[in-house]
Structures are given as C-alpha cells and as structure tokens.
C-alpha cells in the first residue's frame, strides 16, 4: 500500500507540509480562508527540528495499529489499510495518543478531539496534500 515515507536527508524544516495539511483538512476552500480571522487549524503531520536534521512525522498506518485497538469509543478503524478517525465519535480521551509509538496522533485546537493523517482519503485532495507541498522531495507517496 502506498504510504507517505520520509527522506530525512532532504527535509529543510520549512513546515510547508504542516500548513498545507492543516488547510487541506480544515474544510475551507483555500489556504487563506483556512487561516483567516486568527483561526489556527491543526496539522496532522508534525515537523521535528534539530541541529542539522529535520523530518516529518505522521501516522504510519501500521499493521499493529495499537491506537485502533485501544480506542474506547470505537472511533478509530481501518478502512482499506488506512487508519481513520470518525471525529463525531471521538471523545478526546487520548488513549490513542498514549498508544501511538510515533507520537503521530495530534490533539486538536479545542483539546476535545484528536486528529490524524488519513492520507487525504476523506478530503477533496484525494492524494496526500503534504507530499504535493513539499518543495524538496523530503516526503514521498509510494510503496516501499
């Protein structure tokens, strides 16, 4: 299955993937509207910045998926290999945050729901928006 993989050597820590992800999943038609009026939509991909190294972390859609197994509301499930969250069911208990070995699950701006990468399968992009936004091939959407 195609997933988003990291080429650590090329990440510049520019954060374009984060802003694009946040806008793509905000429900707004474009990036400007997504951030207008002081809104701060949350990205499902996170950049870790270091001295000479940067890289992006997002859901690996892993086979173990401890997040799905621990979800107390049954909000997390696996659809065609992609791990998705039914945000209506999510109660913000953070059991998935406790379980994810990559720290890939993000708490939203209200603190009452979680957000996670679903490979843009449920927004208008269809294919991961973060990959399209990366200027340097630091993240790619392919099979490995």
């Amino acid at each position: 299955m195609k997933k988003v993989y990291v080429n650590e050597d090329w990440c510049l820590g520019c954060h374009l993937c984060e802003f694009t992800c946040a806008a793509a999943n905000s429900g707004a038609p474009d990036m400007i509207k997504a951030f207008a009026g002081g809104k701060k939509p949350v990205a499902r991909i996170q950049i870790e910045e270091g001295d000479k190294i940067n890289f992006a972390v997002q859901c690996r859609h892993c086979e173990a998926h401890p997040c799905v197994k621990g979800c107390i509301a049954g909000a997390l499930s696996v659809q065609n290999g992609v791990i998705v969250c039914d945000e209506e069911k999510c109660v913000g208990c953070y059991t998935c945050v406790l379980s994810c070995p990559y720290g890939a699950i993000v708490i939203d701006e209200t603190g009452h729901k979680i957000r996670k990468c679903d490979l843009c399968t449920r927004n208008s992009h269809g294919e991961p928006a973060c990959v399209k936004a990366c200027p340097n091939n630091a993240i790619v959407f392919e099979e490995r």
């Binding site: 997933k3 993989y5 990291v6 080429n7 650590e8 870790e48 270091g50 190294i53 890289f55 992006a56 972390v57 690996r60 401890p66 197994k69 621990g70 107390i72 509301a73 049954g74 209506e88 069911k89 109660v91 913000g92 208990c93 953070y94 059991t95 998935c96 945050v97 406790l98 379980s99 994810c100 070995p101 990559y102 720290g103 699950i105 993000v106 708490i107 603190g111 490995r144």
Partner: protein
C-alpha cells in the same frame, strides 16, 4: 466450530474480531447479562455529562453483529460452565454448547458493608449504562452528592455530576487521590485543580455511619447528601471459572495465549491476571486497550492460530475537568521530574531502560515513551537530553528513524 463468548464489552469484541481474522464462518454466540448492543463502559461518564449521544455510546456500528455473523443472547446470565459436557448453563435453565469458550465477564463494583447503608435513599454504583441512566433520572442542579472513593471511577463520576452543578464531596480512606496512577506530587496538583472547579475532598478517613441523608465520618465530620455514589473498587467476575475448577487467584489465571487451566476455555479483560512487563509482576491490568488486545489474541488462538499477548503494561489516558493525565509502566527506579504549573512530568529509569512515566497537562506524543517501555528500548542508543525534554523521534538513531519513518530496513 462453535465459539461462545460470555461478556459483551471490549474483551468480547476483541475476541469476535480476532476469531474473524482467521475463521470467517464458524458460529459465534455472545451471552451478555446486559440488554444492550456492545457499548463502551468508559463512556458512561461522558454520556452522563452529555458529551456522548445515545447513538455514540455504542462501541461498534449497529450492524456489527450481523456483519460478523454473531448471534447475541442479551439480558441472559450464565450460572455455570460445564467443562465435561462442554456447555454453559443459563439462569433460565437453557444450555448453550461450545467448542471454544471465552470468559470475558469483566468485573463488578465492590460495595463494602458500611453501617446504615440500607437507610440511604439514593445509592448508586458507577459501572454500567443502567447505573448512569438511573443517576440521570434523579439528578437535579444544586443536588448534594457524596462520592465514596477518589480513584479513577469516583473522580469521573464527580466530573460528570459537576456538569449538573451538583455540590460534590469526595471521601477516601487514602490520604491522596488517584493512588493507582499518580504519585504524591501529581496527585496533589490534580486535587488542587479539581478543587478549583468546586468539588470538595475529605481524605484520610471513611464513613462511620450512614443515615438517610447524611454520613458521619470517622474523623468526626458530617456530610449531607441527596445521593451517594459508591466507587471504592471493583472485583473481577471469576466465579464461573473457579467453580468449574479453573485456576483463579486475584483474577482468572491465563497463559500468554490467554488459555485458562480449563480445556478450550479462554479468558480476557478485567477478569484476568496479566503479566506486567514493566515491573515483571503479575497483576490485574483493568484497561480497555489491554482487554481488547487480550481478546483479540484469544480469539485468534481459539480459531487455530498461535499468538501470544506479551509486553502488557499498565497504561492510562484520562482527564478530569480539562486537565489530562497520561501514565504508563512502573514507578520503581531512578526518577527525573519536571514541574511547571499544572504541567508535571516524571520519567522513571531502571537497568538502563525507561520503566514508567507520568505526564500531566502537556501530554503530547506520550505514545513514544509508552513504546520505549513496552519494547524495552536500550537507552544507550538514545539521546537522553532529548528524551527528558519531550517525546520525540529525534532522540533515536538515524537508522531507527530510517526504518520507522522511511520504511528502509538495512
């Protein structure tokens, strides 16, 4: 193949989904003493608060049983397991035969005998959908509520009732709150936070005597109430297995494949004893993720696979009145502590490994610490300053990151 599951909560659902990974056609029967479609027990306080709807309290979709070929016998109580005949007996006398049996009976609230309890007008436990429905029917704004027990369940009840502007007092024999997951300092921070929202605590004492609307405490104080909620603890439902001759200590004893000492009988969830990999001890790990995963392993093994449930550790993610806690592992070892307002961080190290942690307030990405405990990651390859700063993949070696994030195995 005829699979029978006693229970209808997380462990049972794990068992169903585990069986169906291997055996798509075998018959599965679920017997539950509650009358509901599988619902999430931890969500009952959210339901009471109005944060979860009637529809969303259910743990799986409405067509879950149909999609998985499961027959349900709801509102039916199992009284006996007959291992020779390989069937279970219901309270109405019917028998249900099995080839493989799963005991996922969970636990029941422990109600200690206290003086004058029979006089109390309104007394509830806080364990089931029915119990919160009963509470909801009675609750009124400004109502006085006395909660016995300052543990996970008691404080969740307090949080829920606070939404109704109830006047809440929590009493506990211990001198601190949440002793099962927090240390003294973290417990004190959380106590102050909860007190700032209006709930009162009386710790280090217990009830001497109840009357209809008030309780006299052993320290001399008196607490008036309209409603009492008992939340002092739970007892695992092990009688069916012990009476059938299976090995039971504090909970049902299973091996790593979740098999009990009875042939073809498995157990999973809050009724079982697990092996805690972080402290290398055996104890009951009454946690939903644990129950589900034990059930899944058991289900697969019942269907013919050979899976083991290893690396179980205590782990909790819970929030009270907007302040969140994430904890895992054991706290025996060398400690590193950081405190900043309501943010508290404690990391516990032993034998060159991360053994446990407590995070309060800022709990982002805690799962990275959890996996280090479970996988027993060797800290000599980890940047300790980064580890102490916050959970981050940066603390690991480039090779590990290439494998985990880049899909490259060398």
């Amino acid at each position: 193949m005829n699979y029978v599951i006693i229970g209808n909560s997380a462990a049972a659902v794990g068992t169903i989904e585990g069986i169906r990974q291997i055996d798509k056609t075998g018959k599965i029967t679920v017997i539950s003493d509650e009358k509901y479609h599988t619902y999430s027990r931890p969500l009952i306080s959210y339901w009471l608060m109005g944060k979860v709807t009637d529809k969303n309290i259910y743990y799986r979709s409405p067509d879950f049983y149909e999609k998985n070929g499961v027959e349900t016998l709801l509102d039916a109580r199992v009284t006996k397991i007959e291992t020779a005949a390989k069937d279970v007996v219901l309270s109405d006398g019917k028998t249900v035969p099995y080839d493989k049996l799963m005991v996922a009976t969970g636990s029941k609230p422990f109600v200690p005998p206290m003086n004058g309890m029979d006089k109390i007008a309104s007394c509830h436990t806080f364990m089931s959908y029915d119990s919160v429905k009963a509470i909801k029917a009675e609750v009124k704004p400004g109502m006085k509520v006395l909660i016995i027990g300052a543990g996970l369940i008691g404080l969740k009840a307090a949080e829920a009732l606070n939404e109704y502007k109830a006047d809440i007092t929590v009493v506990d024999m211990a001198d601190r709150i949440l002793p099962s997951i927090l240390d003294i300092r973290a417990g004190s921070i959380m106590k102050k936070h909860i007190e700032s929202k209006g709930t009162k605590f009386i710790l280090g004492t217990s009830v001497d005597e109840f009357s209809e609307h008030s309780a006299k405490l052993k320290n001399g104080a008196t607490v008036d109430f309209d409603m009492v909620i008992i939340a002092v603890g739970v007892r695992p439902n092990t009688e069916l297995v012990s009476e059938a001759g299976g090995k039971v200590e504090r909970g049902i004893i299973c091996d790593l494949t979740q098999k009990t000492t009875l042939d073809d009988v498995y157990a999973a969830g809050d009724c079982t004893v697990s092996h805690d990999a972080s402290s290398d001890t055996d104890r009951i790990l009454a946690l939903l993720p644990n129950a589900y995963m034990q059930g899944e392993v058991a289900g697969r093994n019942m269907a013919g696979a050979e899976t083991k449930y290893e690396n179980a550790i205590p782990m909790n993610a819970i929030g009270f009145f907007g302040l969140h806690i994430i904890t895992a592992g054991s706290y025996d070892g060398e400690e590193y502590v950081e405190e900043n307002g309501n943010n508290y961080k404690k990391l516990v190290f032993k034998d060159g490994l991360l053994k446990g942690f407590i995070l309060m307030g800022d709990v982002k990405r805690a799962g990275i610490y959890t996996s280090m405990i479970k996988e027993r990651i060797d800290l000599s390859n980890v940047d300790m300053d980064m580890l102490k700063d916050r959970p981050q993949m940066m603390m690991f070696s480039k090779a590990r990151r290439e494998e985990k994030l880049g899909g490259i195995k060398r």
